[in-house]
């Protein structure tokens, strides 16, 4: 059950729409909109909600092998502390971790041991991602491939072993993040 999402705050801040009621109504619940209207940094909270929703969407879609759907408003966020939140979709609840720096917001579903990489300046290219994954897992990049299933959910394929590992990828602006469950030995 992995899912992560990164928001490049520099890029996000360029959106002049993110605080408009029309934009918010498409992605948030009434309760979330109320919270946005009552916080000191509304734009930051919009993008925090967005990253929580996206990360949860990815985990939920992978978990049940669901067809793609663009339904951000169906994911309901409750912020529990500075770095923790709970997101509900239908009858399912997910616990998330969210980190905010001056440059990005990164959120991911908590699911045991994971390897996490956050990089800036990577091109959204397969090659660059694979080489970073190789470094992280200490596997030669030539032996790694990324493939997506019929619902566009990505997995790492370790060549010559038939082994696949789930991977959650996120790219926004100049940031790339990915998350892989740690192989328990």
């Amino acid at each position: 059950m992995i899912g992560n999402d990164i928001i490049d705050l520099k890029l996000a801040s360029r959106s002049d729409r993110s605080l408009s009621p029309r934009f918010l109504n498409k992605i948030c619940s009434t309760k979330e909109i109320e919270e946005i209207n009552n916080t000191l940094d509304p734009q930051l909270l919009v993008w925090k909600f967005w990253s929580l929703k996206e990360a949860t969407y990815k985990a939920h879609q992978r978990r049940f092998n669901l067809k793609r759907k663009f339904n951000p408003a169906s994911f309901h966020c409750s912020i529990s502390s500075k770095n923790n939140a709970v997101v509900q979709i239908d009858e399912f609840q997910y616990n998330l971790n969210s980190e905010i720096t001056t440059d990005y917001i990164h959120s991911y579903v908590e699911s045991g041991y994971i390897d996490l990489g956050i990089y800036s300046g990577l091109k959204k290219s397969r090659h660059q991602i694979i080489s970073r994954v190789g470094e992280l897992l200490s596997i030669p990049p030539a032996l790694i491939d990324i493939k997506k299933n019929e619902n566009y959910v990505p997995s790492l394929v370790l060549n010559r072993t038939d082994k696949t590992l789930p991977i959650s990828l996120s790219h926004h602006g100049s940031f790339t993040a990915f998350l892989i469950p740690l192989i328990k030995s």
Binding site: I7, A12, S15, R17, R22, F23, K26, I27, W50, E54, R68, K69, F70, N71, P72, A73, S74, K124, Y152, H171, H172
Partner: protein, 84 residues
């Protein structure tokens, strides 16, 4: 409004958000916003809002849910226009 005109207008709407320009060369009903055009998902909301403005329609969240390809968008626009 005929199908080709809708698709043509859609092409102009998505253009500023496209990160994979080649995807615009072969722009048809099968074109996938996220995979073929690599529009990031936050910008997909912008696309929906721009479509509302361009065609003077309202796209409710239930319709937005299934708006993943140019064909999906075209179908939704045609449906909403027929109700106007």
């Amino acid at each position: 409004m005929n199908k080709d005109e809708i698709i043509n207008r859609l092409r102009n709407i998505v253009k500023p958000y496209v990160q994979r320009e080649e995807g615009l060369n072969d722009f048809n009903e099968e074109t996938d916003f996220l995979n073929d055009l690599q529009i990031n998902s936050a910008n997909l909301v912008d696309v929906v809002l721009d479509v509302e403005d361009e065609f003077d329609i309202e796209i409710d969240n239930d319709s937005m849910e299934g708006m993943l390809t140019v064909g999906d968008a075209k179908d939704i626009i045609q449906k909403k226009l027929s109700l106007n």
